[in-house]
């Protein structure tokens, strides 16, 4: 059973009196398998958020249909096992972190000791125990993103829809969210991740789909898509210069071409995180 299935899903927005219609999504046929992390990529205005809104029945399709775990999206029951984190989530500013999770938990039919225990688990998971009694009006953007993730997970959904989950979040918060997505995958959750941050998607997604101007222009397994089958990379450590020359000669003798020999670079993210790790003064101070 697919977690998400769409058939010729099309959305045209009315632009107003005599201004025609904007084609936001054009016959999208998407299948997100249960248990996988699927990345929906695309530039701004490519139709990513429109797709998520259609799946959540926040907007109506012009044509086509969508299903969540084989339940038509027009039915309320299709959202029973779905957790949603919108882009730049806004919550009720006057509620505290705990009250926010209580509110969403109750909407999902939870209550009593079970709900309280779940709230504790989630506050710990997203690292917001210290801000549990603070009103959301005083939360930073990163903290709002975390409480957003917690509310999406409150009813332990099987499917998570994350719309630009790291938008506006600092690199540490971004890495935390990336790690959390991997943990959720380990728990057997299905994740549909909408993003335009390619490096992030590459790290966590099993499959990706690329949307542009409302059309799915590419789809497939991440590793297959990004690997160049004609080239091979071998990384070694402490190789003497003489041995290196012999390796290059062996490669040429086999009829292959040495394209480049250089030192691998670390990512800017790793460099940044390592620097912070070494500097213990600010440990635990970020939000």
């Amino acid at each position: 059973m697919d977690a998400i299935r769409t058939e010729d899903l099309t959305k045209k927005y009315e632009l107003g009196w005599h201004k025609g219609r904007l084609l936001a999504l054009d016959k999208l046929n998407l299948r997100v398998h249960e248990g996988e992390v699927y990345g929906l990529l695309g530039p701004n205005g490519s139709g990513k958020s429109t797709t998520l809104k259609l799946i959540l029945d926040l907007i109506l399709p012009t044509e086509g249909s969508a299903w969540v775990f084989d339940v038509p999206c027009r039915k309320v029951s299709s959202r029973l096992h779905v957790g949603f984190l919108p882009e730049n989530p806004y919550f009720y500013r006057y509620l505290t972190g705990t009250e926010t999770l209580e509110f969403f938990g109750k909407l999902c039919g939870m209550g009593g000791v079970g709900l309280r225990r779940r709230i504790e688990e989630l506050l710990e998971l997203v690292g917001l125990q210290h801000a549990r009694n603070r009103r959301l009006g005083g939360y930073s953007k990163g903290m709002l993103q975390r409480i957003g993730l917690a509310q999406a997970l409150i009813h332990d959904p099987k499917l998570l829809l994350l719309d630009e989950p790291t938008a506006g979040v600092d690199p540490i918060g971004s890495k935390d969210i990336r790690d959390l997505i991997l943990r959720l995958k380990g728990m057997g959750k299905t994740v549909l991740l909408s993003s335009h941050l390619l490096a992030q998607v590459q790290d966590v997604c099993d499959r990706i789909g690329v949307l542009n101007l409302g059309q799915l222009i590419m789809e497939g397994d991440v590793k297959t898509l990004i690997s160049d089958q004609r080239r091979l990379s071998i990384t070694v450590q402490d190789l003497p210069e003489a041995a290196r020359t012999r390796v290059e000669e062996a490669v040429r003798a086999a009829g292959a071409t040495v394209i480049s020999v250089d030192h691998p670079q670390t990512s800017l993210e790793s460099l940044f995180l390592d620097a912070l790790k070494r500097d213990q003064r600010g440990a635990g101070q970020h939000d």
């Binding site: 919108p86 999902c108 939870m110 975390r146 332990d156």
Partner: protein, 317 residues
């Protein structure tokens, strides 16, 4: 993120390496989602909390309370005139403030949810749009009821203080030595004071005001289901309210203008809800009349909220 922070700066663990216990709580969710009164009340409670903590409505309420409290400081009248003045003023204040709270409190409910995108996370849960709409409406009505109850409490306190003052004055006359023939009359006056002060008609008038404010809130809700402009959402219900108040007078003046009268027929007759004049004239308002007001108000409210539901259920968010 406590556990995740331990991995900070290290290689991202693969899913298989991470030990991720299932949550201790796994909610049991029914596969079919019917209409839930419980969800309506949860949203209503949240709406009320929002309104109370936003303090905008506290402003209206405080203004109302100040007017009601100040009504007792006009001492240049006789006791009967003072009572009439207090009742007239307080009922007027309750009417104006409850109408303002109904319009301003309801006008921003849906637009602010859409603008702040808080509605996304709510409707992404297994929540029906009708539950959301009713929850918002009931939250607004709860605010109205609490505001009117607070004003009534102060209204009652003002009347009680006035009543005690009057009884004290009459007793002072009693103790100052008075002919026996007058004393019987004075006793009679003292007994009449509570009856004149606390008139059951006041309860009826307040009920009618609550019903009127409910209907105004329903109209505002209907407007806000298709308009996102706060100014429009406040101005249109207010104009409808004014037209409804003048409907009776207009019917007499423009009886021969059929199109105008047909348009006015759509507007609720808000003058029907006002019992202050009857009370001030000393007329007894029968409960049957109050019943008619409530039936008229409830019927109109149900139809308007249903129309709001029809629009909101098709609205793109």
């Amino acid at each position: 993120m406590t556990e995740l922070a331990n991995h900070r700066g290290e290689t991202t663990p693969s899913p298989t390496e991470v030990q991720t216990p299932r949550p201790a709580f796994a909610p049991v969710l029914k596969e079919r989602v019917g209409f839930s009164v419980s969800r309506v009340w949860i949203i209503a409670g949240n709406t009320l909390t929002e309104a109370v903590r936003q303090k905008v409505f506290n402003f209206f309420l405080i203004i109302g309370l100040i007017f009601i409290a100040s009504a007792s400081f006009f001492a240049q009248f006789t006791f009967g005139e003072q009572l009439k003045f207090i009742k007239d003023t307080c009922l007027g204040v309750i009417s104006v403030i409850s109408t303002l709270i109904a319009i301003v409190g309801t006008a921003q409910l849906l637009p602010s949810e859409v603008e702040n995108r808080t509605i996304y996370t709510i409707l992404a849960k297994p929540v029906r749009r009708i539950e959301f709409l009713l929850g918002k409406f009931l939250g607004s009505l709860s605010l109205l009821t609490i505001s009117i109850a607070a004003m009534c409490l102060l209204f009652g306190a003002v009347l009680f203080i006035k009543e005690q003052g009057m009884i004290r004055e009459l007793r002072q006359e009693f103790t100052q030595g008075m002919p026996a023939s007058d004393m019987a009359d004075l006793n009679q006056q003292i007994r009449q004071v509570p009856q004149e002060t606390f008139d059951v008609n006041l309860v009826k008038a307040v009920l009618a005001e609550l019903m009127k404010a409910t209907l105004v809130a329903a109209i505002t809700l209907l407007i806000s289901t298709f308009s996102t402009s706060l100014v429009f959402n406040v101005a249109v219900p207010f104009m409808i309210f004014v037209a409804g108040m003048l409907r009776g007078a207009a019917a007499e003046v423009w009886a021969d203008r059929r199109i105008l009268m047909a348009l006015l027929a759509v507007v609720p007759d808000f003058g029907f809800f006002s019992l202050a004049d009857e009370i001030n004239m000393g007329n007894v308002v029968p409960w049957s009349h109050v019943g008619q007001i409530l039936v008229y108000g409830v019927a109109r409210t149900v139809v308007i909220v249903f129309a709001a539901h029809l629009i909101f259920s098709r609205r793109e968010i």
